[in-house]
Symmetry: C2
Subunit: 323 residues, 2 copies
């Protein structure tokens, strides 16, 4: 795993250590990868304010608190997403310490990054080097440094285990992802349910995996919101993918599933517990749901793409027309 303890040490010394806010800013898939870190700080911190912003909204509406007491994470896989580069720029101008994460060592983003993290990518069985894991690890260290958050040993243990869990889970889901692709190849729209730390990936699977990479209609639904409007469209013909998390919000997912199993017939469950996430200490396990879900959902989308004969890499607008 990329060693970030020196970086965190420097960040926490910024402006004499008077950090009061941590913002996560990116667009699309990179924003999705930040959700769990945002969720973690929003839930666990007693002194920090946090925020989760799509880059262009952050560029146009910076929180008034943004300044020398702020840490701003900005992530862009290519490192050249204009809105994200500009977000890092405005954050730096406001006096914040900026942490840029990218796959591209020559990224424009790094010009405006006080701390530069060039991550690895492509090996789905080594998730600890993904930006999602790196930012979560740094967020836990930041909270430990500022507030004495005492679960760092559990975090370290979890990071030591997560690659093995994911690796096993990939093998475990091979038959069911193939069956999924066979069953759902001709569907036109999917609802993706999730809660707590995993809501980011419910959103991400909808907008990146299905809309962007498969040109399929999709919508995320928070499992807790499902019963307050969205469930009225439920019927036997509508496909649902449910991310069943380990952790405090699992009862929300279970409740939605109970209903879906009664009134829907096209329900695919991705259960983090069944896939081994409960091997992690329950005090921190929930923060690792999205790391597992991302890789497992990538298996689902790969099989769907194969079956539909629609490459995950083909785009009609992105990088092809001006916008």
């Amino acid at each position: 795993m990329i060693k970030t303890s020196e970086i965190v040490k420097r960040i926490l010394q910024h402006n004499e250590g008077k950090i009061n806010s941590v913002y996560f800013v990116a667009a699309g898939g990179s924003l999705v990868d930040m959700y769990v870190s945002y969720y973690f700080l929003q839930a666990e911190s007693t002194t920090l304010t946090t925020g989760w912003y799509t880059s262009n909204e952050f560029v146009h509406v910076q929180p008034k608190r943004l300044g020398a007491n702020s840490i701003v994470f900005v992530c862009s896989h290519s490192g050249s997403t204009p809105e994200s580069v500009e977000a890092a720029h405005v954050a730096q101008q406001a006096g914040a310490v900026t942490v840029g994460l990218t796959f591209n060592a020559k990224a424009e983003l790094l010009k405006y990054s006080d701390e530069k993290i060039v991550y690895e990518w492509g090996n789905e069985r080594e998730v600890v080097n993904n930006p999602m894991a790196i930012m979560l690890d740094m967020s836990a260290q930041i909270l430990a440094g500022l507030e004495g958050y005492d679960q760092l040993p559990a975090f370290r243990d979890a990071f030591a285990k997560i690659d093995t869990i994911v690796d096993n889970a990939i093998d475990q889901v091979q038959p069911r992802t193939k069956a999924f692709a066979d069953k759902y190849a001709h569907e036109k729209m999917f609802y993706i349910l999730g809660s707590g730390p995993s809501f980011g990936h419910a959103y991400g699977f909808a907008i990146c995996s299905l809309m962007e990479m498969q040109w399929l209609d999709a919508a995320p639904i928070h499992s807790g919101e499902y019963f307050h409007g969205p469930f009225e469209v439920t019927d036997k013909n509508k496909p649902y993918i449910v991310l069943e998390s380990v952790g405090r919000t699992r009862p929300l997912d279970e409740r939605a599933l109970k209903f879906l199993h009664k009134y829907a017939e096209k329900v695919e469950v991705v259960d983090a517990k069944e896939l081994g996430l409960d091997m992690i200490d329950s005090k921190v396990a929930e923060f690792f749901n999205p790391i597992l879900f991302y890789t497992i959902l990538s298996e689902y989308r790969a099989k769907l793409a194969d079956k539909r004969d629609h490459s995950l890499d083909v785009r009609r607008y992105m990088g092809k027309v001006p916008y």
Copy 2:
């Protein structure tokens, strides 16, 4: 407008006035109504932490900061939404001052509300008495009381004008909402775009107006996120409703619209500026977008319901089966 200054005064004296957080907790449509207050405090406050939670997630994962220094708004139209009642309960037990808003003077919610607000409902031309307006007004007063936020006169002026603006806008959109219903009566799915203070209502129109009340598929998309995945599904046959806000995030909506006008053909624009919102002082106008949009979108949904012969009041699950 319901006079809340005495309530705000009491709230701000809670725990010797050491308020450090304001949380907005509700489910479905009531949660939607809170988004702008959350957005306002997230953008404008330099001392407060804020959060926007679906009730059942708040019940299962309360932020560690929740306590005697917290204000928790809980809204439930019926006042009996179990998750929202429980959210007020746990917030009160944690020592927070709870503000309950409901249409029902005998609501269970009020048992756990330190401050009780029974609002009016039903007159779409008197929006200042809607919970959305009441909470926004209180949020501005809270920020003025705690940090000296200096736009209260502009807020008061805006509240004095907003009913007239909405009233005129309702008349103005009559022909176009009828045309919308004629054109889109047979569509099966809609994307709703919005940004900044209006993203809540992009979400709300999707989950409440279309999914819940019309059993139509729908998905909200943040205008800033549109170009980072979701736009790949855009084509001539897909319907988009775009909430074009007045204020700082308007360029995000304009950019999405420019693209949609080129690559889509079914695009309905609801432009707050054209509908008169720029009559409000530009320093606060953006916070009034959702108040205008809610009522105008209600006109759209009413015409669609008429044309589709699908009453807005009919449900298949809500209140009919156990869940």
